[in-house]
Symmetry: C3
Subunit: 204 residues, 3 copies
């Protein structure tokens, strides 16, 4: 288990970094100043986890007690501020890290949900909340309609990952395998969905 | 009392259903996809109660521990997705359910507020928060100015209902009568206000 | 210490009043009705502290248990509703009170952060959150991009004040002197920054 924990932790920071970069890039596009970029980097990276922890209410808000999250975000924003043109050229790397973030955030949120006395579907919702809420707040603060409501479908990937997680848990599969399988599924579905422009049904 | 509790519970689910439908309809108008509709249905239906519970901090967030709320919302959104044209034709029924929701949400929030050690006006604000916050978040996520800030006046109906509740409580009237009277007042004032286009004073 | 506490308390109410006025003025500009003005006055005045208290989670949300905050805000909004043209003419007084609010809110938030087991930079963030979040929520509800992301730089003033606070604390200076020095620094930097149109670097 310890091995899995370390890997999750590394992927968590990778995701936090990528989310903070995405917030800072959005700030750049809107011509925000440095404070705006830091603020947007923060809410994008920690918004989902913060909402989850405030709703669950059983554990403290995670980033308040882990100074490494703070530094990861500050470095990500400064990095974006300095090397934006270069970062934008490496779209694929950015997308890779972002998708890692979505996958691991979903699993972490789902696990925190399962740690409390709530029904499985609500725990899955906690996973999705962790993964999507930061981006939604980012878009609202930029005065845009959240991208995930009409274009991106990664919430569906998170949902599938959550269901796979619960299914394997029900089958008594060992935790490391569950985590790897569920996270990989989210990663693959999100990547394919963007590659092949999958979309959810819309209202007629 | 048990009778009253059951009736409140039924009205609560009616309101939750109506609020979720209103969220899904807003999503439809903005051409969101199915995830956007589910998300908007959820925040509209549970946004007010969630804000209230997170602020009061003494009880867990209600919908996390009652799976029936989850199913009510999911059914409401799917229902809206499938039968939107029909639903839109039944504006009056929708308005009826929505007003039921506003009335009962106010009472529930007010009661939760009174259960904590806070002053009466703050408890009334908890009632209003429960009734209005979901719609406000819905409008913000749709990138619109909240309707309730410039057109609808149902917050005033909730305020009146809250004051009536506290007045009767002060007079030692039995709880069931208080609840029915206060909820009915909100229902009537809201209905009349829309019918006769009452509006609050605006800035000159 | 008691003297300092009383002064902080008075400045806190001054700031609350100024923030509520700023919310009500924003509501007026958007042609909101009286409820919209009250709502916007409230979230502007208590939004930052509420976010902070919900995230820290160790103390109840402050305004729920202090009815004087409620009355301060209601009076501020009614006052704005009645005397808006006059208030607008006294821009300098308004700016003065607003800057007092920013300064004292930062210190209060920072102190609450230090009261919990969190790292110093996070405590400073709690101070900044207290000072800026109300205005950010106000702007989002008005469907504007938050002013503080691209124009105003008072978050930087709060950051400097926070650093000064921590520096003096490290040097074992007495608390009253720390508070006065840090608050005054925020006040001066904010005033000068507006006067001389200082701005933060933006993305190229």
């Amino acid at each position: 288990m310890e091995m899995t924990d370390s890997i999750i932790s590394i992927l968590d920071f990778t995701g936090t970094f990528a989310f903070a970069v995405s917030g800072a890039l959005a700030a750049a596009e809107k011509k925000f100043d440095l404070f705006g970029a830091v603020f947007l980097g923060f809410v994008t990276a920690i918004g989902g986890g913060t909402m989850r922890d405030m709703m669950l209410g059983n554990t403290p808000v995670a980033w308040l007690h882990d100074i490494r999250i703070f530094y990861t975000i500050v470095i990500a924003v400064v990095f974006t501020f300095l090397f934006r043109p270069t970062i934008i050229r490496f779209t694929k790397a950015l997308f890779l890290f972002d998708t890692i973030g979505i996958s691991v955030f979903t699993i972490i949120g789902l696990q925190k949900g399962l740690g409390v006395d709530i029904h499985a579907p609500i725990a899955v919702m906690m996973g999705i909340t962790t993964a999507v809420m930061g981006g939604i707040i980012r878009d609202v603060l930029c005065n845009d309609i959240p991208l995930i409501f009409h274009k991106e479908i990664y919430a569906t990937a998170c949902l599938l990952g959550g269901i796979i997680y619960l299914g394997l848990l029900y089958l008594n599969v060992s935790e490391s395998i569950i985590i790897v399988t569920a996270a990989t599924s989210i990663f693959i579905v999100r990547t394919l969905s963007v590659r092949y422009k999958w979309s959810l049904p819309k209202f007629k």
